[in-house]
Amino acid sequence: QQQVKQSPQSLIVQKGGISIINCAYENTAFDYFPWYQQFPGKGPALLIAIRPDVSEKKEGRFTISFNKSAKQFSLHIMDSQPGDSATYFCAARDYRGSTLGRLYFGRGTQLTVWP
């Protein structure tokens, strides 16, 4: 069962363009939604995160839009740069199993930004 669905699987954007990656979930117990960026051979690194009581969060060129009623959230990368080329994972946290919580990841989006 796929807890977090992510699309598209791959995305090609021209330098300066907007990259948009979408995620959807079913589990209403999720309480925290981070986005991770992963470069080849490296571990996932937190990019930006949002709680479900907020509809939008912006940090520099990165914005999360969150639609609680639709159970969807998306990452927008403005003015995309070649250095943004990486794999992006959305994730959602569930605390029901333990107070440490566990993350459920989407399948990832391979972003390529052409110069």
Partner: protein, 113 residues
Amino acid sequence: EPEVTQTPSHQVTQMGQEVILRCVPISNHLYFYWYRQILGQKVEFLVSFYNNEISEKSEIFDDQFSVERPDGSNFTLKIRSTKLEDSAMYFCASRESSGNTIYFGEGSWLTVV
């Protein structure tokens, strides 16, 4: 910036052999995790650990897996008898008890042949 460090970065082992993957979490973090990523697939939760006890484990974390904090700094994942399907990148992660951010290490790539 403090980071989670993992060793080895890559290990090749024969099927049926035992493997120990090692991690040094960020020093003031109390919550520890192992995740894995099979090549080309999503990152999956294995186990969480706090106060020398497993807090939660996934259906992947069967009797072949165990975790331990043998001293004040290391956190280990042991696979008792490796199978071909255990080939994956294993990520250690940690976070502060009061924070939300989970910090991941660079991973240990395990190849079972």
